[in-house]
C-alpha cells in the first residue's frame, strides 16, 4: 500500500514561494490501477516524481508498504520496489536497448524475454534489441522502450508518466492491453498519469490533481462522469477567465 501524507513541495518563484504540491494526502491500495489526471501544471508529474524520489518534498511523508521511504534516495526507492517511466525519457549514446532492459531486470535476459518486453509495447524485438538508445530513435520509439524498461523491472509499484504521449494509435492499443494484463495479474500497483479517456477507462480509481491539490479521488464510476461533464479538465486559467467574463 502506498500512503502519501500531507506532501508539500515548494519552489522559490519570482513572487515568493510557490506551492507546487499543497498538502497532498492519498492512499493507494495494493493491486489497484489508479489514473492521476488533471490540468497541465497542476502537479501530477511532481507528485509522481516525489514518489520515485526524483523530487524532494519540503514537507510530508511517503510510506510504501509500511516503510517510510521519504528519506530514501532514488536508488533506495527503486530497490524498495518503486519504478517510474519518465514522461521525457533519457537517451544514451552507446547503451543498447537490450543492455538497458537487462539493467532494468537486474539480470541477463534471454532473447525471448527481451522480445516479450518489447512486444508488449508494440516494438518488433529483432529490430530493436541491438539498437542504441540514441538520437536515431524517434520520440515514440524511445517512449515505448522507456515503458518496456519499467515492465522488465517487474516492480510491485509501477508509475507511468503520460505513457501515451507520442505513441501511435496501433501501439497505444497494445499499451492499454499491456496495462490491463498487468492489472489482471494483480501483482503490481499501477499509477498512470494520463489524459486519455481509454486509459482513464482502465482505472479502478481516479485521482484528480489540480493547483497542487487532490481535488477529487474515488472509484472510476464516481469520478469519471464529473470529469467528462463539468470542465474539471479545463486549464488552470479557467477560473481567471471566468472571473474576467463575469467582471
Amino acid at each position: 500500500m502506498l500512503e502519501i501524507q500531507n506532501l508539500c513541495y515548494e519552489v522559490e518563484g519570482e513572487e515568493g514561494r510557490l506551492g507546487i504540491l499543497r498538502d497532498v494526502s492519498l492512499t493507494i491500495p495494493d493491486g489497484k490501477l489508479v489514473v492521476i489526471t488533471g490540468p497541465n501544471g497542476g502537479g501530477k508529474t511532481t507528485l509522481a516524481r516525489a514518489i520515485m524520489g526524483l523530487v524532494t518534498p519540503t514537507a510530508g511523508k511517503i510510506i510504501w508498504n509500511g516503510q517510510d521511504v521519504t528519506a530514501l534516495d532514488v536508488t533506495g526507492r527503486a530497490k524498495a520496489g518503486i519504478s517510474y517511466a519518465f514522461q521525457q525519457p533519457a537517451r544514451f549514446k552507446g547503451l543498447k536497448i537490450g543492455d538497458l532492459l537487462e539493467l532494468a531486470a537486474g539480470t541477463v535476459l534471454r532473447h525471448d524475454e527481451q522480445c516479450q518486453y518489447l512486444t508488449r509495447v508494440g516494438l518488433c524485438a529483432n529490430d530493436y534489441i541491438g539498437r542504441e538508445m540514441d538520437a536515431s530513435l524517434s520520440g515514440g520509439e524511445i517512449k515505448r522502450v522507456e515503458i518496456a524498461t519499467v515492465l522488465a523491472r517487474r516492480a510491485p509499484l509501477m508509475i507511468f508518466d503520460e505513457p501515451e504521449a507520442g505513441i501511435d494509435l496501433w501501439s497505444f492499443s497494445q499499451l492499454t492491453k499491456t496495462f490491463q494484463a498487468i492489472h489482471d495479474q494483480g501483482e503490481a500497483t499501477l499509477i498512470v498519469i494520463s489524459h486519455q479517456e481509454r486509459i482513464i477507462d482502465l482505472a479502478d480509481e481516479i485521482v484528480l490533481v489540480s493547483k497542487g491539490q487532490v481535488s477529487a479521488h474515488g472509484p472510476k464510476a464516481d469520478i469519471l462522469p464529473g470529469l467528462l461533464s463539468d470542465g474539471a479538465m479545463a486549464p488552470t486559467c479557467y477560473g481567471k477567465k471566468e472571473a474576467e467574463t463575469r467582471g
Partner: protein
C-alpha cells in the same frame, strides 16, 4: 612470458594462450614467439627493429596477432612493422601494446606501422593500448600508422586506449584509392594527469572513396585530450568525421575536426561534441536500482563500447 605478462596480453589482445594462425609476440624489445602459416609470412627486418607481414593474394578468414608487451622499466622500444596485404585478401590483424611498469623510469613503445593493401584487399585492424603497474614511471605509447589503400581496398581500424597510459601521441594517416574505404573507430579514456593527442589525416584520393571516423572519448581527473581529425576529399568521395567526448572532473578536451574539399564532387561532413554526462541519464539508471557511481560507470562503459 610470465603470469603478469600474460595478464597484460589478455588486456590488449584477449589472448589466454597462443592464438590460432599467424602471430608474432614481442616482449621487452625482443622476439618472444612467432608462427607463420601457408598464406601469411612474418619476416624480421634486418636494417631496423621490426617485422614485415606478408599476406598472400586471395587469403581468406585468417588472422595475425602481433602484440607487444613491455614489463621492463626504463625501456624505450621502437618498432617498424610493415604489412603487405595481397590482392583480394581478407584478414584480421590484432596489434596492441601493454605496459606493466614496476619501476620509476619511463617505459615507452613507439609502434610505426605501414599498411599496403592491394586491390580489393580487406583488413580489420584492432589495436588496444593499455598500461598498468605499481611503479611511478610513466607509460608512454606513441603509435604512428600509415595506410595506403589501392582500388577497392578497405580497412576498418578499431583503436582503443583502455587505461593506464600516461602519455600518448597518435598519428594516423590513410590514403584511400578509388572505391576504397577507410573506417576508424577510436576510443580513448584518460584519467589522473594523463594526456592524449590524436592526429588523423584521411585523404580520399580516388573516385568513390569513402572515409568514416568515429572518435569517442572520456576524460576524467586532470587529464587532457586533443583531437585533430582531418578528412580531405580530392575526387568524388564521401567523408564523415564524428568526435564525441564526455568531460568530467577538471579534465580538458580540445576537438578540432577539419574537412578539406579539393574537388567539387567531394561530400564531407564533420560533427563534434563535448559535454558532461547528462543528469537525466544518471537518474534513469538510478530508477533501475543502480547507485549514482554504478550509473556513471554503465554510461561510460556503454559510450566506449
Amino acid at each position: 612470458m610470465d603470469k603478469t605478462e600474460w595478464k597484460v596480453l589478455k588486456e590488449i589482445a584477449e589472448l589466454e594462450k597462443v592464438p590460432q594462425g599467424a602471430y608474432n609476440f614481442r616482449l621487452n624489445g625482443q622476439l618472444d614467439g612467432r608462427q607463420t602459416t601457408e598464406h601469411i609470412d612474418i619476416v624480421s627486418k634486418t636494417d631496423k627493429p621490426g617485422i614485415d607481414i606478408l599476406v598472400k593474394p586471395g587469403t581468406r578468414g585468417e588472422s595475425v596477432h602481433i602484440p607487444v608487451v613491455l614489463s621492463q622499466t626504463g625501456l624505450h622500444d621502437v618498432v617498424y612493422n610493415d604489412f603487405y596485404i595481397g590482392e583480394g585478401a581478407e584478414v584480421d590483424i590484432v596489434a596492441g601494446c601493454g605496459i606493466h611498469n614496476t619501476g620509476c623510469e619511463t617505459a615507452q613503445h613507439d609502434g610505426i606501422h605501414v599498411f599496403h593493401l592491394a586491390k580489393g584487399a580487406k583488413v580489420r585492424y584492432v589495436e588496444r593500448h593499455y598500461g598498468e603497474g605499481p611503479g611511478t614511471g610513466e607509460n608512454v605509447l606513441n603509435p604512428k600508422t600509415e595506410v595506403y589503400l589501392e582500388e577497392g581496398a578497405s580497412i576498418t581500424m578499431e583503436m582503443t586506449q583502455i587505461r593506464g597510459v600516461d602519455s600518448t601521441v597518435r598519428d594516423t594517416v590513410c590514403y584511400v584509392g578509388p572505391g576504397g574505404e577507410c573506417v576508424i573507430n577510436e576510443k580513448l579514456l584518460t584519467d589522473g594527469a594523463q594526456s592524449a593527442e590524436s592526429n588523423m589525416e584521411i585523404v580520399l584520393q580516388g573516385a568513390g572513396a569513402t572515409g568514416r571516423v568515429v572518435s569517442r572519448s572520456v576524460a576524467k581527473g586532470d587529464s587532457v585530450q586533443v583531437f585533430r581529425p582531418c578528412m580531405t576529399g580530392k575526387d568524388q568521395c564521401f567523408g564523415h568525421v564524428q568526435c564525441d567526448s564526455i568531460i568530467m572532473d577538471r579534465a580538458k578536451i580540445k576537438s578540432i575536426p577539419a574537412i578539406d574539399a579539393q574537388s567539387v564532387d567531394a561530400q564531407l561532413i564533420h560533427e563534434a561534441a563535448i559535454g558532461r554526462i547528462a543528469g537525466d541519464q544518471i537518474l534513469k539508471l538510478m530508477t533501475l536500482g543502480l547507485t549514482e557511481e554504478e550509473a556513471e560507470e554503465k554510461i561510460l562503459e556503454g559510450f566506449l563500447q
